[in-house]
């Protein structure tokens, strides 16, 4: 099953060269092990646009739907058997990217 792993930070694209090297090595390994589905960094929430087309006429709102100091600065989607297996991967990922991570299963 798949888990969304969110990288929590108050800035974006802020990994140091050492962190990037460690993240790349980690990604290559989990790709080889079959645990990697997707990974990527995200632009800051200030770049977000909220789109609401529920009423038939699309309304565009500048900025994120939720203001907060910390936000999701990047993400992984990982393949793992259960939360314990995912947790081992996420524990290591938190170390290599040097950020707090949130793990949540897909339904």
């Amino acid at each position: 099953m798949q888990f969304l792993v969110s990288v929590l930070d108050d800035k974006t694209n802020s990994a140091t060269p050492e962190e990037m090297t460690a993240i790349t090595a980690f990604n290559e390994r989990i790709i080889a092990d079959g645990n990697w589905v997707f990974a990527g960094g995200l632009a800051a929430p200030s770049a977000a646009t909220v789109v609401d087309n529920r009423a038939g006429e699309a309304i565009f709102t500048d900025g994120p739907y939720l203001e907060s100091k910390e936000y999701i600065a990047g993400l992984w989607i990982m393949q793992a058997d259960d939360l314990d297996a995912a947790r081992d991967l996420v524990t290591e990922a938190s170390k290599v990217c040097n950020r707090r991570l949130e793990v949540r299963p897909f339904l």
Partner: protein, 413 residues
């Protein structure tokens, strides 16, 4: 009639976790398992007084609970593939005992999973493994029944949605996870032993005995784990002094003032036996084993003056290396005071003031040391601070008496 009731209580203690565990395995759902187990026991309470206790109560309860679960799933008509896979026939033979024992371990590890908050782990373990009812758990932790019910419901939902696995952790993960389980049991024990809250009994026996019962269960399932044995010994050696620890007037009686003849000799003997067993194992002891050994030294002395304080100080030294927390340092200083005098101990204690300023035992220890040094005025101030911070009624009473016995002018009250 009352015999049947006693039997039901005993069977409930012995079989509850087994029934919940085996149903969780079969239906893959803690909520279904819990409700069906509760219904099966309710049926037993209703029927056994009339028709008698069945020859194998455990098997009867498992079968009945299985039927209740299947009935519920049929009623809800929400059977997913997993439930279909579980082959919902009424007459599955009971599984062999060894497998079911493993299932109880699975249940314990799931309830104590690190992805759950500590208070949730405690509540869930008492409900699923201990079989306490929601109102009982709510009372034990001074929480509204509805709030406790929600906490348990949310926990079950999270286990399901977050994909917390129902299994015993692998060897690599096991020591850390066992330590997490023991933390939960120690919290239950301590809440019983040093109950907090102005209106509660100072010692709540139902919680200490439940913690001991559950630790015994884990010991039976993991007999080679040193820390499990250590925690059981620690609980027994502490519980053995329970009745001596609070006076008839509801005041805490300190170790040096306790009537050692009223300690529970059987519990002391069992605790000592476990400590000896761990010593003989020759494996470096963890935190609980060292704490048990310290308590073994105390309970070996027939009079407080016979206490081998150098041994106690040495054990605390060992504990500091395993667990270098300020609270352990504080306890070590208390033992040092007996060996080297209160002045030496106070120097250590005062170095901890920044970290422990909000902890009542820190101020109580300072107060006692200052009292012994004849510094009444400073001792009084420290007692005041300790009384202000103490949450246990018996402890407050003890500290107040000690303060009021100090020489010199007392504050107008």
């Amino acid at each position: 009639m009352s015999d049947v009731r006693e039997t039901i209580t005993r069977v409930h203690h012995e079989e509850w976790a087994r029934v919940v565990a085996s149903l969780t395995k079969r239906f893959g759902d803690l909520d279904v398992a819990e409700e069906a187990a509760a219904e099966a026991f309710a049926t037993a309470v209703e029927r056994w007084p009339d028709v008698g206790v069945p020859p194998n109560p455990g098997a009867w309860l498992t079968t009945t609970a299985n039927r209740k679960a299947i009935d519920r799933l049929r009623r809800e008509n929400k059977r997913d593939d997993k439930h279909k896979e579980a082959q919902m026939s009424y007459d599955d033979p009971p599984e062999p005992l060894g497998v079911i024992d493993d299932e109880r371990l699975r249940l314990i590890f799931t309830c104590c999973h690190p992805a759950l908050s500590m208070e949730t782990r405690v509540a869930l373990t008492l409900r699923m493994v201990g079989g306490l009812t929601v109102p009982e758990i709510a009372r034990a932790f001074l929480v509204q029944e509805t709030a406790m019910g929600q906490r348990i419901t949310r926990a079950k939902a999270k286990i399901k949605a977050a994909r917390i696995p129902y299994r015993v952790p692998d060897t690599e993960d096991l020591p850390r996870r066992v330590s997490g389980v023991l933390t939960v049991l120690f919290i239950v024990f301590n809440e019983g032993y040093l109950a907090t809250g102005p209106d509660t009994d100072p010692v709540r026996h139902e919680l200490t005995s439940e913690a001991i019962r559950l630790t015994r269960l884990i010991r039976a399932l993991m007999p080679d784990d040193g820390e499990v044995a250590g925690l059981l010994a620690l609980m027994l050696l502490t519980e053995a002094r329970r009745t001596a620890r609070v006076s008839a007037s509801g005041e805490l009686v300190s170790l040096d003032e306790q009537d050692r003849g009223s300690w529970d000799a059987a519990m002391v003997a069992e605790g000592h036996r476990l400590v000896r067993e761990r010593l003989a194992a020759g494996v470096a002891p963890g935190r609980y084993q060292i704490l048990a050994a310290i308590n073994a030294v105390h309970t070996s002395a027939r009079d407080v003056r016979d206490t081998d304080w150098s041994q106690v100080v040495a054990l605390y030294g060992q504990l500091v290396r395993v667990d270098p927390s300020p609270i352990v340092e504080l306890n070590r200083a208390i033992a040092v005071a007996e060996l080297d005098g209160p002045e030496v101990a106070l120097a250590t204690v005062d170095r901890l003031s920044e970290k422990l300023d909000g902890y009542h035992a820190f101020h109580a220890t300072r107060a006692d040391l200052l009292r012994r040094m004849g510094q009444s005025q400073q001792a009084r101030a420290a007692y005041d601070k300790a009384i202000e911070l103490a949450g246990n009624t018996a402890e407050t009473a003890y500290l107040t008496r000690r303060r009021d016995q100090l020489a010199g002018p007392s504050k107008p009250s």
